[in-house]
């Protein structure tokens, strides 16, 4: 795999971390450097979060800063709005993205609109963290991947790291952002890989995708857990002499249009992979971006390999819901042999 390493820091001390450790470390940095940072969520205190994202943080920073809340997502987000407007920087953990819906009104009508409504007098610099996605044999509703509900919501940014380095860097960038940011964390990658992650503070720029594999024949566009699927498909395709370029989008709003457009202009073919449902999934936005910016370059209809237009099934069937490298490979063949 042609991992293109970013290094805006030289001689940085790094250490091996999984994604969940990197997220934990990122929050530690944020709590440490700014006493206005406050974390709210269900089971994030003594229990350290159901995925251990907040492990040890309450012990280190106290129960006033790492706060177990009542079981109430609208309460978590709604009080975070009040905290954020009044000088604090909340990180609100939603236990699973599928449980963010009770807070949808707060996010849709306040988190994202308060700046507009107050002509920037009141702003909501907060981060919402939510684990998302299928494939870990979780119960129903725990596996949703509904990023569209937030990319279609002006006033909030959405990021979705696929690896430890980006997870920590994007989380810190999200906290430095003067506006609300939703951080979607693919549960599938929480512990699936380990890599060198800088100790201390660094950021990954919001709004910038990354070429994680260079290629000439077809562009694969993915994020989160689907990067691994794309990489496997690219390896399979390579055996057939097809060179795939892979874009890890990393930020879902605002999308890095340039990286998509430039890559597709080069490869002239694109396959988009996401685990969200097909209809009104973000893949459609990417099709539009290509339509808008690389229309004359395209040699085949864009293919999308996505979750189906069905509720994410119970876990005995979830592997049939999720895009697989085999499905992606077929899509690659299809665009190449159009």
């Amino acid at each position: 795999m042609t991992q293109i390493v970013e290094s805006n820091q030289k001689d940085v001390k790094t250490t091996q971390m999984t994604m969940i450790q990197a997220i934990n470390d990122g929050m530690r940095v944020l709590l440490d450097e700014d006493e206005r940072t406050i974390i709210l969520g269900e089971d994030i205190g003594k229990n350290g979060g159901v995925f251990r994202a907040t492990e040890g943080l309450q012990e280190q920073f106290g129960a006033e800063r790492v706060v177990d809340t009542p079981l109430s997502e609208a309460g978590i987000i709604g009080t975070s709005v009040g905290l954020a407007v009044n000088g604090f920087k909340p990180i609100a953990e939603i236990q699973f993205l599928g449980f963010i819906y009770p807070a949808y009104e707060q996010i849709m009508t306040h988190v994202s609109r308060l700046r507009m409504r107050s002509m920037s007098r009141f702003t909501v610099p907060m981060v919402i963290r939510a684990p998302y996605g299928a494939g870990i044999r979780a119960p129903e509703i725990h596996s949703d991947s509904t990023e569209t509900l937030f990319t279609h919501m002006p006033g909030i940014k959405v990021v979705c790291p696929s690896n430890p380095y980006d997870a920590k860097g994007l989380l810190i960038a999200a906290m430095e952002d003067p506006d609300p940011v939703l951080v979607l964390e693919t549960m599938k990658n929480y512990r699936s890989m380990r890599e060198e992650v800088p100790v201390g503070k660094y950021t990954v720029e919001i709004g910038k995708g990354k070429i994680v594999r260079e290629g000439t024949d077809v562009t694969l566009i993915a994020w989160g857990a689907m990067i691994t699927v794309a990489e496997k498909a690219a390896q399979l395709a390579e055996k057939n002499g097809i060179q795939c370029e892979i874009i890890d989008l990393r930020t879902l709003y605002p999308i890095d249009r340039d990286i998509i457009s430039e890559s597709v202009k080069k490869t002239t073919r694109a396959v988009i992979i996401h685990e969200a449902h097909h209809t009104s999934g973000l893949g459609n936005d990417i099709v539009s971006i290509i339509n808008d910016t690389a229309f004359l370059y395209l040699r085949a209809p864009i293919e999308r390999v996505t979750g189906f237009d069905v509720p994410v099934p119970f876990f005995s069937l979830e592997e049939h819901y999720l895009p697989t490298s085999a499905r992606v490979q077929e899509a690659i063949e299809k665009v190449v042999h159009f």
Binding site: I38, G75, G78, T79, G82, L83, E105, G155, K157
Partner: protein, 351 residues
């Protein structure tokens, strides 16, 4: 249960003391302040309805009948407190220091109308019902963490008690014991739905039991009861004892908004027996020697002028700026939005 929540009053319908607890604290200054602000916001309210009828204002939500509740509670605030109003609470926000001009602008569909003076923490009116209660809890929580004596007040109606956010907001506030006053104006109706279809409980105040916090039911048309009970709730909050739920029983004399026709759903006679809060204060002033004809004339004139000026300012206000459509979504505009703005402005240029 409602027998546990008798309506607290300080003066009766005829303006006579029925409770002397706060008698010593009622002096000319307070009486005149209450009168002045109630008159001021009532005049504003009636002017707004007139302007709407003349097509000089958009749909407007009047608060006539609720002046004692709004003014009495707003006067109980300290300057650094936080206020979370609905669309019907401009009686309170104007009293607390929001500009009349901006309030008019709000009702003309101008976002500028949401912006309070820099020295007043007044949120824009919450349109989605009950969503402001968690905000009030959060802002109050921040004050507690900072170690100040400041507190929040959340205004909301009887209808709002049915929403989940009412429940979740008060629950958070009670669990984290934050300094907030949940100030309910039970004005009898949520648009057309009377309180007995809204809830099976006889009072709003008793809902405080669910959160283990004090619930107080007051005559919302008695400005003294409102003022002193709100003040007590604030004292309780500032002393670190957490939130209070106040139910101010009042009455929406007019329509829900100027687009609403209450004759469709409530009998003409309903509420006619309720003594207007201004009348009650006037009777009190006459009964206890605070009535000062000359001062009242002065205040009326001053207020009328102030409102005329505000109308003038509103009407002379610079036209809406199309750039505002784009400029307050993010601190820094993402490229695609910048492009949308640019291309739209170019389009306007071309036309």
């Amino acid at each position: 249960m409602d027998e546990n929540y008798p309506i607290k009053r300080i003066i009766d319908d005829h303006g006579h003391f029925v409770d002397s607890t706060f008698e010593n604290e009622i002096d000319e200054k307070l009486v005149k302040e209450l009168y002045y602000h109630m008159l001021r916001v009532r005049t504003f309210d009636r002017k707004a309805i007139n302007l709407q009828r003349q097509g000089r204002l958009g749909t407007y939500a009047p608060f006539e009948g609720q002046e004692a509740a709004q003014v009495g509670s707003a006067l109980a605030l300290q300057p650094d407190d936080w206020v979370f109003p609905t669309y019907r609470d401009h009686g309170a926000t104007i009293t607390f220091g929001k500009s009349m001009t901006r309030t008019f602008l709000y009702w003309n569909g101008r976002v500028e109308g949401c912006v309070a003076p820099p020295d007043r923490n007044i949120f824009p009116p919450a349109v989605p019902i009950a969503t402001q209660l968690p905000h009030a809890a959060g802002a109050a929580w921040a004050e507690k963490l900072k170690g100040t004596q400041n507190a929040s007040i959340a205004y909301f109606g009887d209808g709002a008690t049915s929403e989940g956010d009412f429940h979740e907001g008060i629950n958070f506030a009670s669990v984290f014991k934050v300094p907030v006053v949940f100030f309910n104006q039970n004005n009898g109706y949520a648009i057309s739905v009377p309180i007995e279809k809204q809830m099976n409980s006889k009072t709003v105040a008793q809902k405080a039991v669910a959160y283990g916090i004090p619930g107080v039911r007051i005559d919302g048309n008695d400005c003294f009861a409102v003022y002193f009970e709100t003040k007590q709730a604030f004292n309780h909050a500032r002393a670190g004892h957490g939130p209070t739920l106040i139910e101010a029983v009042t009455w929406r004399k007019g329509a829900h908004t100027t687009a609403d026709d209450p004759s469709k759903y409530r009998p003409e006679t309903q509420g006619k027996d309720i003594v207007d809060p201004m009348t009650r204060l006037e009777l009190f002033m006459k009964n206890y020697g605070y009535w000062d004809e000359q001062w009242i004339e002065e205040v009326k004139e001053k207020t009328a002028n102030e409102i005329d000026l505000a109308v003038e300012e509103m009407e002379k206000y610079p036209a809406s700026n199309v750039e505002d459509v784009f400029d307050h979504v993010f601190a820094e505009m993402p490229p695609q939005l910048a492009e949308q703005k640019e291309s739209y402005l170019a389009h306007l240029e071309r036309r």
